[in-house]
Symmetry: C2
Subunit: 310 residues, 2 copies
């Protein structure tokens, strides 16, 4: 570090963590948002939706983690092209910074097909690997001045442009919208259906199941052969035009396709357990960990984001 032959002392940075606010008016209070995306495939729909977010891009930092596979290499090339276009484009659309991490461990299953991914036998290894990817991304990109972390999967291709403001408005430690999928129904009409079953309220049945389980066992949600009788947020959605989009419910488990977290929840230590934690793993284990740390988790049953339909 030398400038005109004079040596410049290295930086000393001083942060007061309690000056980093998280409020219902994040734009007014100039709160920074870190959007974190584990990315195995690049979808232009994801990028277009991200670009359309009305939260000031100058307050948004982006972080990606991409597997070291052939598919990951292709995704990296496509992502970098999209980033280059945006970051050299109009100043108002540019994001504050972008970090791309390439994973240092192999993904557990080679196929990224939806049917293969969702096989129950593959779930434990797959979700453990997803947890490690999320943790690597989180631990290396979260800074002392980050107010909010928005987890956003790479295949979320449609959200309201006001997503960040709408979620932050509720001022909750952990908040998840309802993740649906568009499809064409039997009558050849456009329709929607639930996609993410990881946001739920616990049941006595599931609690009893957990009590009788061995320490390494995990309860996976959304499989016919394990009836948990949990209340799934996906099933309680009101899809009518007149619905109350601000309806909010407490949750015990959360999904991570889109998930807003106050940075202080993560700073307290809340991460994504790659091992069974109270018989839960990944984002569902994260919700349990956040609650163990004293933070509440909530969901918006009638506020929708949409997952890509393969």
């Amino acid at each position: 570090a030398s400038l005109n032959g004079l040596s410049k002392p290295p930086p000393v940075v001083h942060y007061h963590l309690n000056n980093v606010t998280t409020t219902a008016d994040p734009v007014g209070n100039q709160e920074t948002v870190l959007i974190l995306t584990p990315l195995a495939r690049f979808y232009q729909g994801y990028w277009n939706n991200l670009l359309a977010l009305s939260y000031p891009h100058s307050l948004i930092a982006l972080g990606f983690i991409i597997p070291k596979t052939k598919e990951g290499n292709a995704a990296t090339v496509a992502l970098q092209a999209a980033i280059a276009t945006t970051q050299q484009g109009p100043e108002g659309k540019r994001f504050a910074s972008v970090t791309i991490l390439r994973q240092d461990f192999d993904p557990p299953i080679s196929s990224q097909d939806e049917s293969e991914r969702h096989k129950k036998d593959n779930q434990k290894a797959r979700r453990a690997a997803m947890s490690r990817a999320r943790n690597s991304l989180l631990f290396t990109t979260l800074g002392p001045s980050t107010s909010w972390v928005l987890w956003l999967d790479a295949d979320i291709i449609e959200t309201p442009p006001t997503l960040i403001q709408d979620l932050a408005f509720h001022d909750k430690p952990v908040l998840v919208p309802n993740c649906f999928q568009r499809f064409t129904n039997e009558e050849n009409k456009p329709d929607t259906r639930p996609y993410d079953y990881n946001s739920w309220q616990d049941s006595q049945v599931a609690a009893d199941m957990a009590r009788d389980m061995g320490p390494e066992e995990i309860i996976f949600e959304g499989y016919a052969d394990i009836a948990t009788y949990r209340t799934l947020m996906a099933m309680t959605a009101d899809r009518s035009e007149s619905r109350n989009q601000q309806a909010i419910i407490p949750l015990d488990g959360v999904g991570g396709t889109a998930l807003l977290v106050k940075a202080e929840v993560h700073r307290d230590g809340a991460m994504f357990p790659p091992f069974p934690f109270y018989h839960l793993i990944e984002t569902e284990g994260f919700a349990k960990m956040a609650r163990r740390l004293g933070w509440g988790c909530f969901g918006l049953p009638n506020y929708f984001v949409y997952h890509y339909n393969e």
Copy 2:
């Protein structure tokens, strides 16, 4: 970001995590070390020892977290004065960067006296608060290019100058030296005694105790009324001149007064549980978490660092 009227696109940074090595020859491989210190009081002896470390300072980043108390304010002032002197001094002695965080929550007990700190009734709240402080520091300072994290308490006032090289030499995921304290014995002679009892190998008695405990109970080490029969590293030290300083043993719990951790262990998700985790908390809970993630913990019974004697 504008330069000569031309707007400069914001930074895009690309990291390959598996190019971040952790090896037995960290200096040769130019590996970066992040030294993290929770600091309630400033000791000049700590700073002098830090300055004397022979690991290239240009590869060392420092991070501190300091409570928002009157004592914490005084410690901040003293620390900043020490930093200013060093960072404006000879280039070879300067550290790559310094981050100071001020805590956003209150410490649970107001007194920092050793006797008050070590009362068993105060341990759960105190060590939960220490865990939160360590997590805040870790989550906000760890970067994608950090190779090693050295946890070093603010009251460790004497280590070999080759501490980092000596620990890294063993190339272990988690490695703890033996923390002792100098004192004057009854014969008025300089002597040493064990200080940190948190590095241990588990026993059947402790495992049985854990099995019979309620979920919120914690086994604290080093209290006469809980005989755990664990093998305490503090008690197995060879203090002779001819001792083998490289002797190494596997551990189930580790203390944090001085502790070298491969950054990828933290990136995988290993943090300091502020809640009972397998009936363990803070650094002992961290060791259990690292092991749940598949990483081994080790100790050097005959390699000493020294804690301040109040």
